[in-house]
Amino acid sequence: MSKWKGIITLVAVGNPLFYLVAIGIGIGVLVTENSGTSGTGGVEYIVFIAPALLANTALLGAMDETVFPVMEGFKWRKMFYATNSTPITGPQIALGVFIAALVRVAFSVFLYWIFLIAFGVMTFQDSWLAPIVAMYGGAAFGALMMGIVAGVQKDDYFLTVLGRLIITPLFLFSGTFFPLTNMPIFLQPIGWISPLWHTTELGRYFSYGYEISGLMLLVHFLVLTAMLVAGIKIANVRFTNRLLK
């Protein structure tokens, strides 16, 4: 990962910045002109989507740093087999990948958060827990992806499906650009299972005082925790079995 510092920084700031400017400002004007702030719980549109973009930065960063290293380690360059020829075990390799992913997520999230404060979209006092929450969502999604990818044999098929049919709908149907409740009820379950929605909802609560019940706070937190724990458990089992052929 040390070799990719430059590109990680660019991606961390660049990609969500494009969304922030294009959608937050561009579409934000449309939204505000037509419905004021009534559709976004009383805050400007850009304030409404900023926590979602922060969560998205965390989740995509976590995905990059779990999916690709795990594919490389097991399939493309098979480096995990070299590591496993030493006293290092499968679960230790998984833990190493996970910690490296968290470092990248922390870096990207904090950088983007500072940006949001600089743009006046968030304030330090109100939102200091927002990056932590985003990181927690990233950790949960990263763990889950690591567990899934550890079992993938046909990588080209998997990566296409992941990118086009999983990540894009998650991004669009997780209450990122509009409240999830705007969607017809049959589409809302996509959000319910999406780590992005749970992270975004928590992020809104911890950045501008978005109204949310104590029960839902707990639900969001528990869903992410369940993903984190399940992901790590699955990864540990799969890493061990795949290395010990």
Binding site: R77, K78, Y81, T86, P87, L244, K245
Partner: protein, 308 residues
Amino acid sequence: MSESLITARGLTKKYGDFTAVDGIDFDVAKGESFGLLGPNGAGKSTTMRIIAATSRRTAGTISILGRDPEEHGPQVRAHLGVVPQQDNLDTELTVAENLYIYGRYFGLSKKFVKGRVDELLAFAQLEEKKDVKVEALSGGMKRRLTIARALVSEPDILMLDEPTTGLDPQARHILWDRLFRLKEDGVTLIITTHFMDEAEQLCDRLVVMDKGKIMAEGSPAELIKKYATREVLEVRFGSDKNREVAPILHKLCDRIEELPDRILMYVEDGEALLEEIVAKKLHPNTSLVRRSSLEDVFLRLTGRSLIE
């Protein structure tokens, strides 16, 4: 036999219905250079992976340095240096970084590993390539680096799976020289190969494997003595005529092998036999007298050539 480092009894590995290793027994003594010889798919690499504590056996027992590799994987692996069939170096890192990081996986101190890296760069003749990324190295250099990497923890046992497959003759000879030095230093070597010359050069003792079973065991010289004759006469009469003359040749020699392109005749004195053949007015297109090799042993044991 001196102290046994590895003891395997009835070792078996199945993948579904396929039996890769079929109840084999062997011992490897300290300081010995032990070879597993056989064609592709004979079960050599699977056996190596079980010894390396990176594969679970289906049945049988195995003890490596007194430990069961399935129960004590990390502890067993701490004493092994593993050179896999395909190099799995980190191609994005430099030569020195590959050695350093691998050494740190063994929990060795930074200071020790740094010293070891310099020694191993010299051993692998890669000092000038120290800061070069691995992807820029030649095949022979990558192989030497993989071997150097396996030595970083000063292992008790060095395991080499097909160490010279895919290398050109010059690179092979450099590698053999390096391995010979390790052997002289008393490192226990376990080598799989399907190259006869490699087994003869490097192995004190070997087992011949085929279809997951051990067909024979001994030193290269013992095996040749037991399963072949001193010399081999190879004659070619042309592909159609080989079959015609074979019955006549059989009367002159107890053991002959008909291969698609030539006939092998196992005798003590090849020149004398050739004279007899010529005296019978049989004139082979080409003829060659050579010493018997492990290739002949394998042919005898399995009825097949090693490289098909």
